[in-house]
Symmetry: C2
Subunit: 90 residues, 2 copies
Amino acid sequence: MIVTRILFFNNAGMEKQNTPHFYRLIFAENMRRIRRLKEISQEELAFDAQISKTYVCEIERGSRAVSIDVMGRIADALQMPLSELLNKSE
Amino acid sequence: MIVTRILFFNNAGMEKQNTPHFYRLIFAENMRRIRRLKEISQEELAFDAQISKTYVCEIERGSRAVSIDVMGRIADALQMPLSELLNKSE
């Protein structure tokens, strides 16, 4: 599998692989906005979503590429559907 | 930071950390459905989203916790808003 990926990267160009996608910022902004609206602290969210407070800060700054599992736990902790946390119009 | 996380895991319990969230399956099912609807092969999607075909298969089986950056590239390749790929009602 490693060989497949290396070959693929050589074909398609590797540089885009590490570029943050715009959705990272959309999620970060929605997450922070809804967390504040619901008066949930970063510590509370971290505890409920079972991640560290540092990780919450990093996600809200858009500096970490969060996984779907963690996104799901954050959505649950904020009592919001994950789809709404990724809505551009929000 | 490692110390913080270890302490946190001890407090909150580590087992949930590796549990796949239900949104993984929602994303997997929506992704496969829309890809087939648009008659896009796994190879084409892999190329457009700049991931390996193996990775596309794994995501569609729900066996990999995909990152928000990759989810964004998949949404772009399928020409769908990411929020719709995470919609439970779809």
